[in-house]
Amino acid sequence: MDYAIWAEGLRKRYGDHDALTGVDLAVPAGTVLGVLGPNGAGKTTTVRTLATLLRPDSGQAKVAGYNVVTQPREVRRRIGLAGQYAAVDELLTGRENLVLLGTLLRLGRKRARERSTELLERFELTDAADRPAGTYSGGMRRRLDLATCLIADPPVVFLDEPTTGLDPTSRVLLWRMVREQVAIGTTVLLTTQYLEEADQLADSIVVIDAGRVIAEGTPDELKRKIGEEWLEVSVAQPTQRAAALAALARVSVGEPSAAADGGVLTAQLPAGMGAVAAAAAALGDAGVEVVDFALRRPSLDDVFFTLTGKSSGEGGQS
């Protein structure tokens, strides 16, 4: 197997804090790896190590076939990096940002200009191309940032939380750009806090916690591990909770449960829309007045709870 990104036993320590405690990765060329994890799990450290910005204390990594420690220059010639903050020069225009990077990547002035125009078009930034990037919205900056890291068409691209803090429209647009890039054969490693994003983009996922990989697989495999969707119901009158529980018990898999504070009722349903309809009908027949009726999908927090037995908020501290 030909891996575009490969790492074995990466460890990195800052003072008395273990940032990475043995990360193994293997990403086949032309695929997308989603790295999931809470803040402080080691996602950024992993990306920075693979992008030659950090030297691992031990372990090995190869990117595009070159060793990140002993052949950093060869690696740098083949990667694009979009870090956690949109690394655009705010005083330069969008176009100037792109041309500068193109020049530094030795495309030559003419080619750098052509490529910039191409990317501005593709990333829907043509209208704003000649305005300083400081005037851009968050979404536009992110797009410019991504465009910048693609200027020399690198075979391997690292995206560190590319959509954190973005509005849904920009997020969907960015996802499309990533897919287009993958379609032409680029290998992408992207970190995210959102399971949905990994689900949308990634061919395979690794979950990182406390500096190591705690789970890996395709999105479907991972979701099965975590559990399926479940139903959450809130009733208008507390006195009707018993009746609602009884009604749900008739249609659910296993016993439905009620939150101790008198809030939401939770029930695991059999797969398919029929079960949802049956649950609604059962509640209606029982005469229960429902104020909220929703299917919940597992969130990253649930992934973490399932995999580590603690919430993602605590995950970063350990």
Partner: protein, 275 residues
């Protein structure tokens, strides 16, 4: 699949020199869009020039003979170097903060050209500021009384001092990440180093224990060298090496500082982590 990995389109059109030029170009565009930096650097030296060289000049006893505005021009011009430390450091720290440094560090370009681009463009700005200060000096009556080569040699030493200070700024920016702290350190340097030197007043009248510190302050050697080279009044008391051989002491001490600060900066740049 292996084909995808071999798709290397990164060209060979360029060199470390074109990288440096591209980055100098970036900085000069900054200056055009946000000229405030110029004011920040020029303000202090110009105010000193006008206040001391014009308003207060009759209250100040000139060491040796001659006019006070002739004495302080070298000091004010050299102060441009001190005033550049803060902005230079802030520029580096801001690039670190926005992640731009990470992007530059992820490129296959030499580490030195990134910092070179920065210091060279800052040097261009500082040179323009020195020209403005000199012009103000000419209006107030300062003159160069020697030949062209001596005049140029004086400016050469002055710009070498400025360049050294820019690298000191780069190191400070890489070492201290908080912009507020950098601002304070920069302001402190301007005040401390200009007054603990012969930039504005002769060191002869300073308390005894401070005199050697002020004399060995590289700024003292630089301004004394400039005064000698330009034929401007200078202290007749020539005790100690820096006062007797200001040109040599200035060149050697600046070269020493550069020899320490540049490698430290490049090393620190290599490992600097963005916050």
């Amino acid at each position: 699949m292996s084909l995808a990995l071999e798709r290397v389109v990164i060209g060979e059109r360029g060199s470390a020199l074109t990288d440096t030029f591209a980055l100098v170009g970036r900085q000069l565009t900054h200056l055009r869009r946000a000229p405030g930096k110029f004011v920040g650097i020029a303000m202090n030296p110009l105010v000193m020039m006008l206040v001391l060289g014009y308003l207060f000049k009759n209250f100040i006893v000139v060491p040796g003979s001659g006019d006070y505005q002739e004495y302080i021009l070298a000091g004010c011009a050299a102060q441009v170097g001190l005033a550049s430390v803060g902005p230079s450091a802030i520029g580096v720290a801001s690039d670190l903060r926005t992640g731009l440094m990470d992007r530059l560090r992820s490129l296959p370009i030499s580490r030195t050209s990134v910092l070179m681009g920065r210091t060279l463009s800052d040097l261009a700005l500082a040179a323009a500021t020195v020209a403005v200060v000199s012009l103000a000096g000419l209006l107030l009556g300062w003159r160069i009384h020697t030949g062209l080569w001596e005049a140029l040699a004086g400016y050469g030493i002055l710009l070498l001092f400025v360049y050294t200070m820019l690298w000191v700024g780069v190191l400070i920016g890489l070492a201290i990440h908080t912009l507020e702290t950098i601002d304070a350190v920069g302001a402190l340097m301007v005040v401390l180093f200009s007054f603990l030197s012969s930039a504005f007043l002769s060191t002869d009248g300073m308390p005894e224990w401070i005199r050697p510190i002020a004399a060995w302050n590289p700024l003292s050697a630089v301004v004394t060298a400039c005064r000698d080279l330009w034929g401007n009044p200078s202290s007749p008391v020539r005790d100690g090496l820096p006062a007797q051989h200001p040109v040599i002491v200035a060149l050697v001490s600046l070269a020493l500082i550069l020899a320490v600060v540049i490698p430290l900066s490049v090393r620190s740049f290599r490992t600097a982590a963005a916050r």
